[in-house]
Symmetry: C2
Subunit: 344 residues, 2 copies
């Protein structure tokens, strides 16, 4: 995604410096050699200049803003790496999806984790922003229609940054509620993994039957439950629950469930494989979904004991924690997943 | 679906009389001959007795309740057909999805359309129920995990009926808010057609590109927009907006967008085909989604002029009405689809 945003930026006439981490040398080598990005399988735009990590200082020179595209394991690292270069008024867009849990059950968004790595004297004078919404990087790079939110605690930052990016295919709305945006976008990965379990259960049951029956009904019920629980979790975090049902929640979960790593991991677990074995099958992949579930495994007991959620209100997340953290076998108690609805 | 519910019913030990309409003679012939249901591609359970339409009276004898599985064109017809047989205390479950619009912009659910056909002296003494939630009939017949709501204005009716159906694979919750349930379930077909347009636009753009880019980002944005607009429309109808985000709304739209007729029609229109031509391609198919959009085409001007919705709050439904009712070419103004979110 860090590279994919080069397309709208260069289409708008801006120059982009693309800096790999120390893990991206092969990608940057390829970009330098013949301008081909092997992950996106595309020739990068002319106005993109690739840099190796050891050229970081040069690549950052005179940048109007920085886009950080590391994975969620790399957030502290990129904070430290950028620390010597950030100055008061610097603007950083974090596209990493994830969250961390505090001991009291409150969730911390990754831009704030990154910020904590910056020198104290500039820390609060750096403007952070985040992007959320259904946007597969390869499609953005292919200039396909995509709709996202830019969030920043200062609305002006989100609005200024949006002007660099918006094109007739990249549609950007803004919010000053970056925390709600980021929590929704992180949770959707966890629940998309959960939706993927249906495909694995289908496989374990022998696949599509002779009459053509899949397990889409189950996947859809899990999807709906994911929407409800994102709403509940956002509320518990004093965040705006509406993000559960818009581009960052339902929309982003929809596109993630259509493909992607989270749903593949879910499918493997759904076949009956333990989380550890499923993880081993996916060596080299970044599994943001699993990391979010692990953090929720820390947060949930504290959230329940503080009374900001009730265990019965989050059966799906507890199920996911049982699978991923406690490596229990699949025990999907669907009867607990919804409730009768009585109106007065 | 009328046939598919035989599986949970017979698994619970009940006998089912399966009565075809005059259009279903070939299906019933097949069921009588070798118990094979050609549409579901399955052998029907032993406890199902198939009846032709001319055996209606015999088939209805001593029925504890009736399940009506006609399509939305057939709702008045089935009401008239059942009229001689309904009595005070009769219970009818309507699985048809659709709605009708009144001149004042208020939406009428199909169970009430059916009820109006019954003799006046029993009309109000018949208990009607409806089923909503993500449930592909072929999967229910395959005893796949499925989660639905049973709705009836009398909660006791929904609860009594549920007891006949619930099994370890058919999970049923109840609501006394049948109208909200039915509106959500009807609207989801319309919006699923809209989600399908992305696949057609992809086809028109030459398909998946050389780097593997689909148009899933667009489909997901449309999906998210559909969720929002179901919420807005439910509110406008004094209905419970939460149904937009649960099994009947988001969940049912998810499973419909995964396959099914609505999304196929959307795909055809998305390629640039007029609605009429797309319809011609799908001869013989029941297109509940198009019928809902046509009804919304009647309702929207009245709703807007009454001030219960604003045109700008329903850009996606207006777009769908333009395509299906006014047969305009595709003009997807995504910039109108979402708004900045400012929290205090």
């Amino acid at each position: 995604m860090g590279t994919a945003v080069s397309w709208p930026l260069t289409d708008n006439g801006y120059a982009v410096n693309l800096i790999g981490t120390h893990l991206d040398d092969a990608i940057i080598d390829s970009c330098k050699k013949d301008r081909f990005h092997p992950r996106l399988k595309r020739t990068i735009p002319n106005a993109v200049t690739p840099y190796h990590y050891n050229e970081l200082g040069q690549g950052l020179q005179d940048a109007a803003f920085i886009v950080s595209g590391v994975n969620s394991n790399g957030v502290r690292w990129i904070g430290s790496a950028l620390a010597p270069f950030v100055h008061k008024g610097a603007r950083i867009i974090a596209v990493t999806k994830g969250l961390e849990a505090k001991a009291d059950g409150m969730l911390v968004i990754l831009p704030d984790v990154m910020r904590a790595q910056f020198p104290e004297q500039v820390r609060d004078a750096v403007s952070l922003a985040a992007i959320g919404g259904p946007c597969i990087a390869g499609e953005l790079a292919g200039q396909r229609q995509s709709c996202v939110y830019f969030g920043s605690r200062e609305l002006s930052t989100a609005k200024e940054l949006r002007e660099y990016f918006r094109t007739d295919y990249y549609h950007v709305w803004t919010t000053n509620d970056m925390r709600s945006l980021e929590i929704a976008v992180a949770l959707k990965n966890a629940y998309a993994l959960g939706v993927g379990i249906a495909a694995g259960m289908l496989q374990a049951a022998g696949g599509v039957d002779a009459s053509g029956a899949y397990m889409h009904n189950l996947a859809a019920a899990l999807f709906a439950r994911g929407c409800r629980e994102m709403h509940t979790l956002l509320l518990s975090q004093d965040a705006d629950p509406e993000f559960a049902y818009s581009l960052p929640g339902a929309g982003d979960m929809y596109v993630t469930a259509t493909g992607g790593r989270s749903v593949t991991l879910g499918r493997l677990i759904g076949t009956g494989m333990s989380y550890e074995r499923a993880l081993a099958e996916m060596t080299g992949e970044t599994l943001e979904a699993a990391m979010v579930i692990q953090q929720m495994g820390k947060a949930l007991p504290a959230m329940v004991s503080k009374g900001i959620v009730q265990k019965k209100d989050l059966p799906f997340m507890h199920f996911l924690v049982d699978l991923v953290v406690h490596q229990k076998p699949i025990d999907l108690r669907l009867d607990d997943f919804f409730q009768d609805v009585i109106s007065e």
